[in-house]
Assembly symmetry: C2
Homo-oligomer: 456 residues x 2
């Protein structure tokens, strides 16, 4: 293990240099014009796995972007880790809010700024480098490993479920390791044992066949932008509670024990509010901020577009209006059930003066695990060795739908081994990765493989 | 008069050719990047006036775009017409809904398609050509005329009031003629005796300092896009009535006589609805469509923008949300009073979880005249001679704020002598001008000068 750690410490700067090249590829899966870039990132990932010493590395084609697969199975009798990550990234708009260009990774104050730095290229690369250190120094890994890195995570992993179902044997393993989440706080490493699910929609309204002059026609026909505000405003009450009938029916109540545990976490609502730059915090009545984000479902408007949005004033009565709306779900809500409730409610709210289209964009189940299973405990020890601190056990407000798929299709538990930070701006301008955490993360990843090898 | 009409008939095709060049200039006053184009349209307008035989033609500078002035004062003892129009145009987005490019004027089925074809370059050009025909054929005009063509009408005529106040002597006249409105219907020429006013605003909300991941933070802070829908949805009730306290206090009720008169107009709600492509008509309860558009105030959302609006799904919790909102006003509402009521109401509705900015964009007073004054009657006779039909007397839902300014500052009545059509798409894609109406309009304009010359 010391040889492995030496290697990691010696090559620290090279890792950043290589990661910078990875981050230079604008692999934005949401934008069709970047399809070739996404594929380029797949090829780059495969090449990095080969360089690290992984075997059978190849791109597995899907109807969308390929899955990068590679394995090293030279430890018979030892457990097998299935590592999952993604090489695609979020869009970068609004571009003018980036301090430096999103695809020119730049170090400032010990942080590496770039789209994908934390979500998820940086964390994928952390494992590739831990594998490389092991193989270069010891000729192999202490466990068997399979990498499965997809390119459509940011657009709902549409083809991943099929891929998993079609490759069950190749994906046979004992545990899934995923590094795609932030730690609890800077200096407070954590193991995440719960995730929210997702149900994402687009609502389109049409009032008239074309935009109209708001003077000549204002008052004579329904304005789809206004109707949209009427519909959306009915989604939550003033207390932040979702008004969709039946929405809370399957929500598992927070246990008193969990609430007590969370109260002990080093969390300051004031600091949190200031970091976000919000005038006040706001959420569902009767719950703390951590409870709202980790254990309560929510509904958010992700986007609005209608009519004239440039500088100045255009007196237009818009023909169409569009909203992106998504819900975060918690155990035991089902994305499909919620989708039906949502669609029925929107249809009920929509007046006959406009035509309505509701499009399901994507969904993902919420997930929770027992945090005293052996893999989670092994991960806790690895984090402690990499970061010099005992991790706290936390949940996360985001979604990693594939965690449920691994559970359902392969019967595998997942360990969420994330080294991001809550202020990493994962889906926002100035996304960043703390280079200290990255370095400790490579070490912790190496320890993780060793700890899992030592199990039994 | 016959010589003048001959000239107009002979040069009919040349007019279209010249107008096409005028329409090729993208003089979009709302977009700063088109400032030079707007100025180019001013120069073009001035040159066209000179070619027509107008004198003292020049660009009068303002803090914004220049006013094009020109006069012909060779008819001592005769009335003086002050002709007002504008050479700037509306923005063209969404560009993909134009059948042919907005600045490449194209004739289809007797209609000339281009931005500005009807609003207002085409109608300005109609008068320039009527003047040209008179001067070329008779050596002069039967009346005195002053042209005053501005370049900021589509952005609220910010500098026109000052221009008028500073040039009262140069603008001395007996009547203002404006051709910037549609006729009642195809084949139903009309004289417009009332206009709605305008109060236009931008609302900006900020929730946090930057966009956030909607999974990690959804439920913990107010979502400005959602708050925006809550605020806007409170602007009108389900019956289409504006809920701003005091909004209707100064609204002059429709007289029974006027309502009776309008019921006689050849107007089909079914045809109107079908032309607009609306599933149903909708507006304030208790009023007909014509009443809603001509004589009742309204509130419209002109634009919405927040978060992610591209294809696909981005799980963002937006930092900011923006709406453009405007109200059309009727006599005796005041734009300033309504602005204060609106701002106070928005502030009252906005929760302390977001920061609010309300920006006044522009406003204009509503206007009405007596339709039996001598100039209106002269215009009626001119229309009858140009179109072979007695015009109906109508109001218009749009705003021409300068009409009030001419009344207030110069004490002048206005004659709204418009030859556009209700389906001209003035502020929408595929704006068009009916070439038959244009030709009849040049003839009617020539008759108008003669009819006004004959007054006393």
């Amino acid at each position: 293990m010391n040889d492995v750690l030496d290697f990691i410490n010696v090559h620290r700067d090279r890792y950043i240099d290589e990661l910078t090249h990875y981050l230079a590829i604008p692999s934005i899966s949401a934008l069709p014009e970047h399809a070739a870039d996404v594929r380029r990132a797949a090829t780059w990932t495969a090449e990095a796995l080969r360089t690290a010493g992984m075997q059978n590395v190849r791109l597995v084609e899907t109807p969308g972007q390929p899955v990068v697969y590679g394995d090293w199975l030279g430890a018979p009798g030892k457990p097998t880790i299935l590592f999952y990550g993604h090489y695609d990234v979020q869009p970068v708009d609004p571009l003018d809010l980036w301090t430096t260009p999103p695809f020119e990774a730049t170090v400032r104050d010990g942080e590496l700024y770039a789209r994908g730095a934390a979500d998820d290229k940086g964390q994928v690369f952390m494992h590739i480098k831990a594998v490389e250190a092991f193989i270069k120094q010891t000729g192999g890994l202490p466990v068997n490993m399979r990498f499965c890195i997809e390119g459509e995570e940011e657009v709902g992993s549409a083809n991943l479920d099929t891929f998993i179902r079609d490759h069950k044997e190749e994906l046979a393993a004992d545990v899934v390791v995923i590094s795609d989440s932030p730690m609890f706080d800077r200096g407070v490493p954590s193991i995440c044992y719960g995730l929210r699910g997702l149900a994402y929609f687009q609502i389109d309204l049409r009032g008239t066949k074309s935009d109209l002059h708001s003077g000549s026609f204002g008052g004579a026909v329904a304005n789809p932008a206004f109707v949209l505000t009427q519909i959306l405003s009915q989604m939550k009450d003033r207390g932040g509670r979702v008004k969709i009938p039946g929405f809370y029916d399957d929500v598992r109540p927070l246990s008193d024990a969990e609430r007590e545990e969370w109260k002990k976490l080093p969390f300051s609502e004031t600091k949190y509010r200031k970091e976000l730059g919000a005038p006040r915090l706001f959420g569902e009545k009767g719950y703390s901020t951590l409870e709202r984000v980790w254990a309560r479902p929510t509904l958010e408007v992700n986007g609005l577009l209608s009519g004239f949005t440039g500088d100045g004033a255009k007196t237009v009565l818009p023909a169409v209006a569009m909203a992106k709306v998504s819900m975060r779900l918690v155990p035991d809500q089902s994305p499909d059930t919620v989708a039906e409730l949502f669609e029925a409610y929107v249809k009920k709210l929509c007046p006959p003066t406009v035509t309505l289209t509701v499009t399901r964009m994507h969904g993902g189940k919420p997930w929770m695990t027992e945090f005293n299973n052996k893999f989670v405990r092994a991960a806790g020890r690895a984090i402690e060795q990499g970061f010099g601190q005992t991790p706290v056990f936390s949940r996360e407000g985001g979604s990693i739908p594939v965690v449920s798929t691994f559970q359902d299709e392969l019967g595998l538990p997942s360990v969420l081994f994330g080294v991001g930070l809550p202020d990493e701006n994962a889906h926002a301008p100035d996304e960043k990765l703390d280079l200290g955490n990255f370095h400790n993360g490579v070490i912790a990843s190496a320890y993780l493989y060793q700890e899992i090898a030592n199990l039994e």
